[in-house]
């Protein structure tokens, strides 16, 4: 584990697997898109709108996976002070927020034809919305300080707090939803769940795989640029330190 804490080591491995990840990502997309859009059959209840589900569920999967990755890396950063873990968390957060937004929007686009309205206070949509706010809070907090190290630590603590809270929020919203929701929506939701068969699973897994690989490939790119930013910042800092120490001699 500690081997990965060294940025040079980490990036050497990351750069080595990057072409593979990117390649697999392209292949998966090449397979997933035609199957999801053309070759898979429409759902007997949902009709063609089931095709939205492939990207909706994939986005939702990534927003949760990325939150997990951020929380785990924040813990590693706070406990062992691995600089790389911090960079992984910070580079991931904007992507998590985008996938979260995508899950919300595709969920709405799926809900309109199915439920007749863009927004219902469905447990999943509501939890997703709250998770989106958590992402925005994380990103805002990480960027709110003049001293970037403070932002790193504050955001890492927030991510850990969030990771305790996400299950609690999810449970609360789920419970609240069963208390308030009329049964019609529940029924149509169960329709989706019970109709999960192989013709849907294949494009779904392909799409989820493609999205996941896309995230990892982009993560490597973003890590490179975060590392460069850190180098630039450090170079500037040492210039300032050099100047002030040189002053009395002049």
């Amino acid at each position: 584990m500690h081997k990965f804490a060294n940025p040079t080591q980490f990036m050497r491995i990351a750069n080595a697997i990057y072409p593979w990840v990117a390649g697999i990502c392209v292949l998966l997309f090449a397979a997933a898109i035609p199957i999801a859009l053309m070759f898979s059959p429409p759902d007997y209840q949902q009709g063609e709108t089931v095709r939205i589900m492939y990207i909706h569920v994939s986005s939702a999967w990534l927003m949760m996976m990325i939150y997990g990755i951020i929380a785990a890396n924040s813990a590693m950063f706070l406990i062992w002070r691995h600089p790389m873990a911090n960079l992984v968390a910070r580079a991931s957060a904007p992507m998590g927020a985008v996938f979260c937004a995508l899950a919300l929007i595709t969920g709405m686009l799926w809900g309109q034809p199915m439920w007749g309205t863009f927004w219902v206070w469905d447990a999943r949509l509501t939890s997703t919305l709250i998770l989106f706010f958590l992402y925005i809070g994380y990103i805002a907090l990480a960027d709110a300080f003049e001293d970037s190290e403070r932002g790193d630590k504050a955001a890492a603590i927030l991510a850990l707090v969030g990771s305790v809270n996400v299950p609690i929020i999810h449970f609360s919203v789920e419970w609240w939803n069963t208390l308030h929701q009329p049964s019609i929506i529940k029924a149509s939701k169960e329709g989706v769940d019970s109709s999960v068969h192989s013709s849907i699973l294949l494009p779904l897994f392909l799409m989820m795989g493609a999205f996941t690989m896309f995230y990892f490939a982009l993560l490597v790119l973003r890590l490179r640029s975060e590392l460069l930013a850190a180098k630039i910042r450090n170079a500037r800092l040492s210039q300032i330190a050099g100047h002030s120490a040189a002053q009395p001699a002049e």
Binding site: L78, I130, F133, L134, I136, G137, A140, L141, A144, F145, E146, E149, R150, K153, A154, I157, L158, L160, V161, G162, V164, N165, I168, I169, F171, S172, V173, W175, W176, L179
Partner: protein
């Protein structure tokens, strides 16, 4: 324990001397609640349906308003550095601060809530549960809020950022707090919701002080 008692009594004394601060929060609570009848109309049926929710939301917003100053003043005048050097435990310091905050804002909010509920036509069965729910829910509000306040110390736009961080975390308290009152109104037992609120408070009191202490330490660094 000297750390805890000294700090708690200092904060209470300060709050008493600057009682305008607490009164402002209460005034905000009242104003925010009173806005709702103007927004939804004065019909007793509508108001009594939303009364519990409105009181809870307004209480959360009022508490949020007061959180800003929990650590900011101490941070700016150097007191926080000295508190960090307490020699015993930072968790005790945090607990003293949180309890002081709860006593100076949570308790006044609870006392004020039945009065505001009257203006919103809350049926008679609801008052006991509303006060109980607030009593069990506001400690979590103070604990989680203090954590948020510690995280945004020294941040740009700290106040707005604080609400962005803390409000989503308040949703579970809000859900069960209003559900408890609703249960009481429909003649169902409200004990399960109240015990869940108590459970939240227990989780918060075991975890939040550590997080807050860590956040305060890194704020001073």
């Amino acid at each position: 324990m000297s750390v805890f008692t000294a700090l708690l009594s200092r904060d209470l004394k300060l709050a008493l001397r600057q009682s305008a601060d607490s009164l402002t929060v209460i005034a905000f609570f009242a104003i925010a609640t009173v806005l709702f009848p103007f927004g939804v109309g004065p019909e007793a049926e509508v108001l009594s349906r939303i009364a519990a929710g409105v009181v809870w939301v307004a209480a959360l917003l009022a508490a949020l308003l007061s959180l800003d100053r929990v650590f900011t003043v101490d941070f700016e005048d150097g007191t926080l550095d000295q508190l960090l050097l307490n020699g015993q435990s930072m968790t005790l310091v945090v607990l003293a601060k949180v309890i002081a905050h709860w006593l100076t804002t949570g308790v006044p909010l609870i006392i004020m809530s039945p009065v505001l509920a009257v203006t919103l036509q809350l049926p008679a069965e609801g008052y006991g549960t509303l006060v109980l729910a607030l009593l069990l829910g506001t400690p979590t509000v103070s604990l989680v809020g203090a954590l948020g306040a510690a995280l945004v110390l020294g941040a740009r736009r700290g106040g707005v950022l604080l609400s962005l961080l803390v409000l989503p975390l308040y949703i579970p308290v809000l859900i069960f707090g209003t559900a408890a009152v609703e249960a009481a109104l429909t003649g169902m037992p409200s004990a399960p919701m109240l015990s869940i609120l108590g459970g939240f408070a227990l989780i918060a009191v075991t975890l939040c002080p550590f997080g807050t202490a860590a956040a305060l330490r890194q704020a001073a660094e």
